[in-house]
Symmetry: D2
Subunit: 86 residues, 4 copies
């Protein structure tokens, strides 16, 4: 599967935000600000995961134009991955 730049940039931003949180902790900043930042990183990661499992499922279904068993099995695996990732 190819990962588009949108996902890569999102993960790089998340990494930068995590670095920022580590600095806030070193400076003993207010915990509400730290929790807000960490929650933003968590939901950004969740979005990246959602995009990957959705695009993976779309690809599996598109590759299954002729309904072969192996392809159908891949669709079920893609749905399983989507469920597990929630």
């Amino acid at each position: 599967m190819e990962y588009n730049a949108k996902i890569v940039n999102r993960l790089k931003r998340s990494k930068g935000q995590l670095e920022g949180v580590l600095n806030m902790i070193a400076d003993e900043k207010d915990c509400a600000a730290i929790v807000t930042q960490l929650s933003a990183v968590r939901s950004s990661l969740d979005k990246a995961i959602g995009l990957i499992v959705a695009e993976n499922l779309v690809e599996c279904v598109q590759n299954n134009q002729n309904g072969q068993d192996t392809e159908e099995e891949k669709i079920q695996q893609a749905i399983k991955l989507l469920m597990k990732s929630r």
Copy 2:
């Protein structure tokens, strides 16, 4: 609020894992492995958030031994932060 080493180390590990995921994406690794790693980072962040909001709430209640209004207000804010962070 003081942040114990457990939380700081957890966040540093999460940052390292994110770097690892970016390398996996550059190598176009299988998406199931990438989703599994990202899910692990997400749940590690969620644990860090949970520890911070729990310890913050405990501190606010402990500081409120003499039941002053301002302290009670801090407890309600700590509960609100906990709810928002879920």
Copy 3:
């Protein structure tokens, strides 16, 4: 979209579990037991949501064999629904 019996039964069970929790609360049962039950209902609902958005996305892609714009638009809407449901 047709909803299979698996999803309907899961929701009926969740409703029954909720009734059970209301009885546990009336009996002032231990909060750990109540939280465990509520968490089980929450994750069961999350699974039902995951199954619905996944099957919806598969259907949209399968209906898009001839790549018409309107169908592609439906795929994007199905991905958006999946993301929003997380």
Copy 4:
């Protein structure tokens, strides 16, 4: 632990919403509307869980005015329940 009316009413509303969703499914309503309703029930349950674990933790800390071991153990259990419930 005593459960306030706010939590009980929230759970009763959630149960009613679930009944509503089962009717929507029987009427084969649009899946986006069903997913939106189910997501609302899920987040309402999550709020109820958050209120219960927060109030439980506050109670444990308040009961621990004289710092006895058994009480400290209860605080740690309340934090564990909070973490597990996320």
